[in-house]
């Protein structure tokens, strides 16, 4: 075993799995030790003050999960409708979808939250912050999902659709039997990635005082003046949610790959 082969991937082929895994583990261990010793050394005894607020963290974390899950469902629904409208032959419908997708995607989420909450939701008399927040996040995610779903549908080749027509499938059967199963394989990996984004993006809802994870950490920070001890759990809490999802996304990508 050449020592260099532990460091450098041979040209044209992949390094053995165990070497790649070893590097990841090594890095993770180093990172853990570094952060832990740093955290322990710099602020001895200070974790107790933050520990008292563990309930705040916990509730915030759970609320983040709930917001993300609900937004995922709702934004998927919005995304499907918008993608279909975007491809519709009814021109006004297509224009509305186009406008929605482009406007939302062209705006920072923070601006969207401020505008939709303080201008639109308040104007319409929607007082519930949580409901408004979930709706806004869903509208935001829906626009991105719509484009993913559209790309998925359009990735189905014309010959597949022609085959479906020749067989005599109805449009509904064509969607159910030919388009959706194939498009789903295409978009499932980015879809899981989008879910991870949604979790991260939900942190911006703290700006309209929804007591999710980020706001919880900010509150703990202002109560204890312990910056590191407040924000380290925040970072780790988000990673605990997003890392498994990104692993799932990678797994799905490999699993669902097939030659066409």
């Amino acid at each position: 075993m050449n020592l260099l082969s532990l460091l450098i991937e041979p040209a044209g082929r992949k390094a053995p799995v165990w070497i790649r895994v070893m590097w990841m583990l090594l890095l993770a261990t180093l990172l853990c030790f570094g952060v832990m010793s740093w955290a322990a050394g710099f602020s001895r005894g200070s974790w107790e003050s933050v520990w008292k607020y563990r309930d705040v963290f916990w509730k915030g974390w759970l609320l983040t999960i709930i917001i993300s899950l609900l937004s995922l469902c709702l934004s998927t629904l919005i995304g499907i409708v918008a993608a279909l409208a975007r491809r519709s032959r009814i021109l006004p419908l297509r224009s509305v979808a186009l406008l929605y997708i482009d406007v939302v995607r062209g705006m920072p989420l923070l601006v969207l939250i401020l505008f939709l909450y303080y201008v639109v939701a308040n104007g319409m008399g929607l007082q519930d912050r949580l409901v408004a927040g979930i709706l806004i996040l869903s509208l935001f995610g829906g626009a991105y999902l719509a484009e993913m779903i559209r790309a998925g549908i359009e990735s189905i080749s014309a010959s597949q659709l022609e085959s479906a027509r020749a067989i005599g499938f109805t449009p509904w059967q064509t969607y159910r039997i030919v388009i959706v199963p194939q498009a789903l394989r295409q978009i499932l990996p980015p879809l899981t990635g989008q879910f991870a984004s949604l979790i991260k993006d939900s942190s911006l809802l703290s700006i309209i005082a929804i007591g999710e994870f980020t706001l919880a950490a900010q509150q703990v920070n202002s109560g204890t003046y312990r910056t590191l001890e407040s924000y380290l759990p925040l970072a780790l809490g988000y990673l605990a949610l997003t890392l498994p999802i990104s692993l799932l996304s990678k797994f799905l990508e490999q699993r669902l790959r097939y030659e066409s």
Binding site: Q160, R165, A166, I167, G168, I177, Q182, E259, S260
Partner: protein, 249 residues
């Protein structure tokens, strides 16, 4: 089988880009088994097949199959019912890559032709057995060779008991060995009785298998007649030149 086409026209694009592919095409032909459509690339033979298959709406014209008017210009639902009675085999097989070979043949039976699970399974097995594909049923199209894929595509068309089979250059994307394999299969099908329309570049094969031949050029039928006569004693200059060229080597 009697096929009568009258005044069929089809063009694509508009303005300066407008291309007329079928130009007031007329054809009346009576054949027991196989009609071959021949012609150079761009002569309109594939488009004619696609119009007959109900996949392309003609701009004008009519089509009679055994005296029945084909509803080519009707609304989609009527056209769909018409397509269901035909079997089309494409150049690129057009199988569904996410379904097994077996499912590719069976799903149209349950979804479109209203067979229950049991009947559909039985018929699928029957057809796959007949085409020598029984042992490959659980494979996905990507795991099959080109020839095997085309056999599954043919099985899919056969299983629905189509009353007319349309082959659109079924061997154009196959290597010589697989081409031979598929041609042999089509020759076998000839005896099974379902009339076939064959668009092909395989002159030797057309000569051997076709009862009648129609030769297209610039969107019209230039010459038609029994295969033997067509190949041995072509009347028009276009066909003479064409045959001299393709049969030179």
């Amino acid at each position: 089988m009697n096929l009568t086409v009258h005044g069929l026209s089809k063009s694509f694009g508009s303005g300066v880009e407008r291309r007329t592919v079928l130009d007031d095409l007329c054809l009346s032909v009576e054949f027991p088994h196989v009609l071959a459509l021949l012609g150079s690339s761009g002569s309109g033979k594939s488009t004619l097949l696609r119009v007959i298959a109900g996949l392309e709406r003609p701009d004008a014209g009519s089509l009679l199959l055994n005296g029945d008017v084909a509803p080519l210009c009707e609304k989609e639902t009527v056209l769909r019912d018409y397509r269901r009675k035909l079997g089309v085999v494409f150049q690129a097989f057009n199988l569904f890559p996410h379904m097994t070979a077996f499912a590719n043949v069976m799903v149209p039976l349950t979804e479109v032709h209203g067979l229950d699970e049991q009947k559909a399974t039985r018929r699928t097995l029957e057809v796959m057995e007949r085409l020598g594909m029984a042992e490959h049923g659980l494979k996905f199209p990507a795991q099959l060779s080109g020839g095997q894929r085309q056999r599954i595509a043919i099985a899919r068309a056969l299983a629905s008991k189509a009353r007319f089979l349309l082959f659109d250059e079924p061997t154009s994307s196959l290597d010589p060995e697989m081409t031979a394999e598929v041609l042999m299969l089509i020759a076998e099908l000839k005896d099974a009785g379902t009339p076939m329309l064959l668009v092909t570049h395989e002159m030797g094969f057309a000569r051997k298998i076709a009862d009648q031949v129609a030769f297209l050029a610039e969107g019209r039928v230039v010459e038609q007649g029994p295969a033997g006569e067509f190949f041995n004693n072509p009347q028009s200059l276009v066909v003479q030149r064409f045959l001299a060229k393709v049969l030179a080597y």
